[in-house]
Symmetry: D2
């Protein structure tokens, strides 16, 4: 029997992170044969990724045999595919710099700036118009394809796809929960000596992307929730170094889980994302009041300079691999993208968390809101699993942002930026005055106006 | 035919405001004969109110003939009644002083401090245990009576009654919408010259108490919403003096509606309460950042000293009336309490706004949340009217507080003050750090601990 | 002040019943001046009605002054109007004969045949395509007009309008509840001697058109529900002659309320429609097993011959009035159409029952289903009132038909008659075999095929 | 590492079918060690089953090592267990005879008579009082245990458990879907030659027990739904003999799937249960009009005589095994009970269908109704999966019975048999007159009155 043939469009196929992870994991996968078409505004990067991928699959020692090719139009890319993967960078680092750092001038600090808060909202303002185009193209060229989104702001991107093309089969995938599973596996090990991979930590998540919650964690007869309680008790003040090599000083993505521990202590449930994400969903005075406070809670503010450095390194690495200067060392990425392609293609079921419109899986959050819960992935099917009820105090935190996300998406699609501002100024991180918030909002639009439709007009209306 | 006999228990019957208004309005009402039993911790005040009331109904020129009597136990008061009115002051002015002014030390300013924000939550912590007792007593002595609440925090008091005795027939009544109707009547007059009483301004409200919204206002063929838009345009900067004698400098309850105008300009709907209430539901940086900001928006922070002065004056006045020193000048109060007693007694229908658990009348807010919408009052029946959908941006503001209110009530009934604190620190007005917020919370509990169950234990657990 | 001017389109303006009632009631109404444009496939009847109306308003003794005019196109009729009234006869008496009498050949008896059951469904199959046209025309020519429907099948007609034009402001009005209020007024009188007009019987209805239920009925301190219980106890066997002149033998619309009494005895709630309507919503074996059973329950099967006779009489009467042969004797009709025009025009509020999509007013029935509950009619506003919960046993009866109605409307709009048949064969009255039911369905389509789109093709597919 | 120890109470542990299957499957299972306590009114049967089980696990060739023991009280049985399995026969064969055959005197034929229809309702009337006792005992002795029900009427038994003890962790398991998966596997094989076990047929079910629906069926890239369509087309008239040895004449449980094919043809979805179950949820005229009609549709009416014969054979077999007369030949049963024990014990996840209260997993059916959908079984967790929307025409069929089931359970718990009768007489199979239905209902109560609380009184009230 020949392997199943799967056709995949990759929008943002020049991506350094997600595309690279995919290329690596495919090397281990021979239950199907994949044809990947890469599309990117930066065509050269897409070509490089394709070249790299094809080089790898040509290796004798590599079992996965797939084909990659860069394409120059959305039409060519999407035509006839079974899947669409999207991971784009909306704009470049200068726009990201504005998202992350402009609010600092007003005393608002963000640890990520791409999901929620001022940075997340502005990023949405330039991403959603692009996603509108994607949704319309998918509707035209491959309406039955499964669409897997990795771009942030995750919930708003997925919501935009459904608003524009309600019959789309889109879902959002994110690895933040995996990290928490690793921490839980460690908590189990610490208490019992039992060592398991993170996939074996059985959790049911409930919440919105980057702000999901776990109310139960088990492994066989072991109650990992209680192990975690012990971990929190013992390390509440110090934090916990999961890898043993966490370098808070030099790695802006690092954290010692103190925010997570504090949320557990106060709310009795496990917040399942990195601390730098969690902090952004909480009122600004809690964990992100100022850089000192962030230090106190032992996580970091990501700087755009660091991201640029990182990106350049990845770009150079790709070139080095292609030109043969460096050997590409293969290891599995720990991501689940390939497993998801497999499962939806009918090659083995998978239970994992993902982001979908709420149709009953999450209690207390409005129908249609993009929520993150578990789902069963099987042949041509992704079915969300009904998650347990969150307590009212957690729902209050989650809904505050969830309601705003839906409204922001709709307001952006309507190009009604006053409505966007009303959500902006009610965001947990925006604790400044109305006037200052308006100035900040306008500054951020001004900085990125070439990527925001009707921005000139809006700025003029507001005296800029 | 003899007039219908209605038996009414009044808990908080020594009340200076609400009881006085009721006594006045009853003087004009002879379609029924009311027997009122007044219960108050301050028995003397109840006796004084009863004496005053009976003196009035004895007057020749007064058509309403009713009977008032002070009672010393809840049992005697509630036994056999058709209605229960509740308007209590939970604690005294010193507790209110703590609610209103303690947060100022942490930079949090409140214009009322009895509904939401730190003051509202602390007030709930000492009111809800009392309401639990009321609900149980009503269940025992008069389970079929209609219960009309006037005490703040309104939504939380009503919610507590339903949590403790789910079959209770309770509703919350408030006059804040009436004030907005007056403003709308004026807007109509300004544009058209048509003069109508506020009851003729047809509105459907949707929201939570002190933070309801109007999306349509009509009088016959006149679109009052558009008249109001003109009023806002013309007076956005200056504000609008509705009575022509508004004395911002000396009357802390006064306002020039600038907050209301700003909300209209930004949200496209009419917020229907006094500005000092509206401001408290908005993020702290908007209208209550500091006393200067409040001045800028042309409303006032209510001081407790003013309330004490006012209360003393009312107390003295009652005494003066009773002893004959002063003549009691009768005028209708503008309140609807008597109309509601009448309507529920089957003596004529009424459509007005009131606070009830959501059973479909308000879209986008969880089942069971106490919401304020219109209702039809008729014989033994109060049926909420389905209100229009609010826009997502308004729902985001409303739900933020609404979700917390339900949770706060449940947490207080569970005596779980950590859960209360989690809502406290997510309140729109609490924009300070976690640590400071915890200090404030503990200070406020300490100040009022004699009225909060389990407070000593909780303070001790938290190092006080 | 000059009276308000209201523009009304009347589709089906040649109507004998509803148009006549409207013309009569307008004669008493001078708070507005109405311009009515009548549209009817039978243009002459429209002209006759206009002539008659204008003759009446010209009379000295008539206070209402309005203008009627027949129009020849939908466009002219709808352009610029504030209201659209629709009361049409879809097809003529021969089609109605098929609806009512064809099922009798298969042992299925219907007392009305225009609402539910085989007759109701077939009538829907020829009415809904027409309503689709109406909805599109309203969307084009007068999208802001209020649309008042009187045509049966009521719920399905209203549903069709909303399916085709979701933003339509349509409602369905029906007088069946009024008749039950009269019976309740009589029950009150019998027990207490108190005589009141039916409007004073305060009820909140809950259900679907022609199958609504009342769980409470009050007049001031009087519990009419208990009076009714007594009426049922005393007259369960005999039935009750409300008018004292009920002529079961000659008036096919007459009944002695035995079905209503039986439903009360068995379900503990008051079914609020004529017995001939109620019977059709119940399983066929209950009240409509055969003509003898109908006789036993003391109501009648309406015959189409009777309807033809009645119609001819009305037509002749109109002619006689126009030609002056007969004098038109004015009396109020008891209908509420004119009150509704007034209330929505802002000339005084009204609380009455009407049919609207469920948006929270009725518990246990899916969102969007057309339900009949109370509503408040005021300036440019019709807001449904939240009705009480029905017991599960009643909801089971109601939902059985309600779910089917929504499905039938959608299937007809899709021209998918197999789906219609699946509902047809699950109808309470259709207790015959699948094969027979299919024959009946095809017979009924065949009889009326000139009015059903795609009917020829469907018949052919099914071997006809 | 020693195997996990699991304690299980088996109520109805003398059961011939379910207990036997369990005993067989445990023989293959050594990932845990189970202690089973059997409780049965027929203590001797429980002892026999325990003896048989222990004999099997003592065999050298058997890998599963477990311990069985009969207990004489519920208290001893339930104390300290992790699981409770319930499979009881409420009453004996004489009661079942009344359920199945009494309605035949009134022309109502049932193919099973234990789930829905007159038989199912009467069976509920004697089962639910027993389940009330079980629920209270579980609440007292093992409130955290997982409860797995196999008794019919499945949905009503599970509902009763939740009504009496809302915090219970109960689910209902049934193998009817498995049979349909086998048919689908065969359809796949017929079209493609691919042979797979039934577990590999990926389906998401949606409905109520014995009346669930499948709208999609896949195996890898193969659309089994389309294979099934072909099977239906080719075998619509003849039916399909799945096993090749189907003996319609002698096996009353046999069928040729013609009912299933007809439902597919008419509704476009796969009804997933045996034909004899499906037929009972459809209006009586469809497939169960009379014995000839049943023959036409190629399934059978189960007779109680057959069941008695079968039961006696099983009883004798058990004795023969115990006494060593016969050797017990081990084969896996095909049931999933053991897999479920394993999965909930954390020994490997399972996705399968089960019956749970609706908390979002099924669209269009009221919250709390017992529905059958897929669920994920993992450590101490059973989470339902959100199933796809059923079309309105199918929901109409499903809801008709689903609404009644909830109401019947509540009415039985209230001992309000008039409400039960109102559901009885609205059942799809009850197409007879009200009077006859009442006689039938009373007959059936009379036949089984020793097992129905308050039955004597009810019969007397109704003139018996």
């Amino acid at each position: 029997m020949t392997a199943k043939r799967i056709k995949v469009a990759y929008i943002g196929g020049g991506s350094k992170n997600w595309a690279r992870w995919l290329i690596r994991d495919l090397a281990y996968e021979n239950s199907f044969f994949g044809e990947f078409k890469l599309y990117d505004l930066d065509y050269e990067s897409a070509v490089d990724n394709a070249t790299l991928a094809n080089m790898i699959y040509a290796r004798q020692d590599v079992v996965g045999k797939h084909h990659f090719e860069a394409k120059q139009t959305l039409k060519e890319t999407l035509n006839g595919v079974d899947f669409v993967i999207i991971s784009i960078l909306p704009g470049g680092f200068e726009e990201m710099r504005s998202d992350v750092h402009t609010p600092e001038k007003y005393g608002i600090y963000q640890s990520v700036g791409d999901t929620t808060g001022p940075g997340g909202i502005l990023r949405a303002m330039r991403t959603i118009p692009i996603y509108k185009r994607f949704a319309l193209a998918i509707k035209e060229y491959c309406p039955n394809a499964w669409v897997i989104n990795y771009t942030n702001p995750m919930s708003m991107c997925v919501k935009a796809l459904y608003e524009v093309f309600p019959a789309i089969k889109a879902l959002g995938c994110c690895h933040e929960v995996f990290g928490t599973q690793k921490l839980l596996a460690k908590a189990l090990y610490n208490q019992t000596g039992i060592e398991i991979p993170r996939e074996e930590v059985k959790v049911s998540v409930s919440g919105i992307n980057h702000f999901t919650w776990i109310t139960k964690a088990e492994y066989q007869e072991n109650d990992i929730f209680e192990c975690y309680r012990k971990m929190v008790e013992d390390n509440y003040e110090s934090g916990y170094d999961l890898t043993g090599t966490t370098d808070l000083d030099n790695n802006p993505f690092a954290c010692l889980h103190k925010v997570k521990f504090d949320l557990f202590k106060r709310y009795g449930a496990i917040a399942a994302a990195g601390d730098r994400h969690l902090a952004e969903f909480c009122p600004g005075g809690w964990y992100l009041k100022n850089p000192d406070k962030v230090k106190e809670w032992k996580f970091n503010l990501t700087t755009v300079d660091y991201r640029i450095k990182e990106s350049n390194a990845l770009m150079k690495a790709t070139k080095d691999f292609i030109t043969g200067k460096e050997e590409f060392v293969l290891t599995p990425s720990g991501e689940e993208g390939v497993k998801i392609l497999k499962a939806i293609s009918g090659l083995g079921d998978l239970v994992s968390n993902c982001n979908l419109p709420n149709h009953g899986q999450m209690y207390g959050v409005e129908e249609g809101t993009i929520v993150e819960t578990n789902a069963i992935f099987s042949a041509d099917s992704v079915k969300p699993v009904v998650s347990g009820k969150l307590s009212g105090q957690i729902l209050a935190l989650v809904n505050r942002v969830a309601i705003a996300q839906t409204e922001v998406v709709r307001a952006i699609l309507d190009e009604d930026y006053d409505r966007v501002f009303n959500c902006f100024v009610n965001d947990p991180l925006v604790t400044i005055s109305l006037d200052q918030a308006k100035e900040l909002f306008l500054d951020m639009i001004e900085n990125t106006k070439h990527l925001i439709p009707r921005s000139e007009e809006y700025l003029k209306e507001n005296g800029r």
